[in-house]
Symmetry: C2
């Protein structure tokens, strides 16, 4: 029995090692361009042995994506303390850390990577988006979002994705600026939506009343007022 | 030779008819759920004859997508006259017409349809996004966009896509409101970006100076000022 337990541990450890090796390679080159041979070499094992742990490249890719998804979703967790803008800014900083660390792998995934159309892949991407959505609602202290709030939160999440992808393509704008800008984009899009919806205004008023003048939301208002004057 | 010309015309007409039939069916149910048998029946021809014109469902799907892409890109064309907000609002109206007409086909495509990962499909989607991007730059009278302007235009285009997809899922918000809101989102995101970038402010100032108080941009400013007071 002891041997059996050890063998199962060994298999799982080896799988975790291969996933780590694959993620390292996908962070430097698109998964399309990374072969099983390279993964085997980087892990110091033979190609057939890789296939012993993962029946094909797709299953290794999906396992790597699962770990990366859990990693990313974990970074959305933020204590419910202090002003909302500062919380979201800390999450944006960790989000760009993730995007920075996974570069080509993240791009390939979001633009249609080797497992594109795989239901496992789509479900993992959706689960990360859903985690982001639920975290934002929890911070807004909303449990039954009206349609317009759901729309603004979900569409902002897609804006954050496309902003990160565009940033990766050349990194022409400092990421710290984009982190602030995305927080301010959230405020701006929410303001547009609230400008059309009394219920949304009523719900968001107490949250926004707690924002300090020197936070990212206050900074936006000050900058916009300077712009107008 | 006359016969040859006629036969070629006939082939092309039949192909166009099949594309039209397929688009009609994809507008009611996801392309995944539409069989070649159904397309053949709706066109009044036999299943083998469909395969005579299109070697497989993917090639018919790609041909249908090509026609739909050209249709959509064509709707972005707008005379360079009058205030910018009103021009963008007319384009948004035609965009939602398209989304409305193609419902399930549009959703399936953007969420990963039957041809997902096909390089033809990705190239067509990219060509529509590029057409939208170029139209907006042309209306802004910008030929050499700085990085931040490119980012705000391209990320707004992805916001418009996700907003349309979320709208299709239940249609819980009147589309006319979303058309106005997307125009105002564009103004809001551009304002956030310009608040951080003097060059962008300088470039956009003359464009925005021409906006009337009763246009969608003026409406947003009035609503936001009412919100703050």
């Amino acid at each position: 029995m002891t041997t059996g337990v050890r063998r199962r541990m060994g298999v799982e450890e080896r799988r975790q090692q291969l996933i780590g090796v694959a993620l390292d390679l996908f962070a430097r080159r698109s998964p399309d361009e990374v072969s099983i041979d390279e993964i085997a070499a980087a892990a110091g094992i033979s190609r057939p042995l890789v296939y012993h742990y993962f029946p094909g490249k797709l299953s290794l890719y999906e396992a790597a994506l699962k770990r990366a998804s859990e990693d990313l979703a974990g970074r959305f967790t933020e204590p419910h303390e202090g002003p909302l803008g500062a919380r979201l800014l800390r999450v944006m900083h960790r989000y760009f850390d993730f995007v920075d660390e996974h570069g080509p792998g993240f791009s390939a995934l979001m633009r249609g990577g080797p497992a594109v159309g795989s239901s496992t892949t789509n479900a993992l991407i959706d689960s990360v988006r859903q985690a982001a959505y639920e975290q934002i609602l929890a911070h807004l202290e909303v449990t039954d979002p009206p349609a317009r709030l759901e729309l603004v939160v979900r569409s902002w999440i897609s804006l954050a994705e496309s902003t990160a992808l565009l940033w990766l393509d050349g990194r022409r704008i400092p990421r710290a600026e984009l982190e602030v800008q995305l927080v301010q984009d959230f405020a701006a899009l929410t303001a547009v939506s609230a400008a059309h919806d009394e219920e949304l205004r009523a719900r968001l008023r107490p949250v926004l009343a707690a924002e300090p003048a020197d936070g990212p939301f206050g900074d936006l208002v000050a900058r916009l007022l300077a712009l107008v004057s």
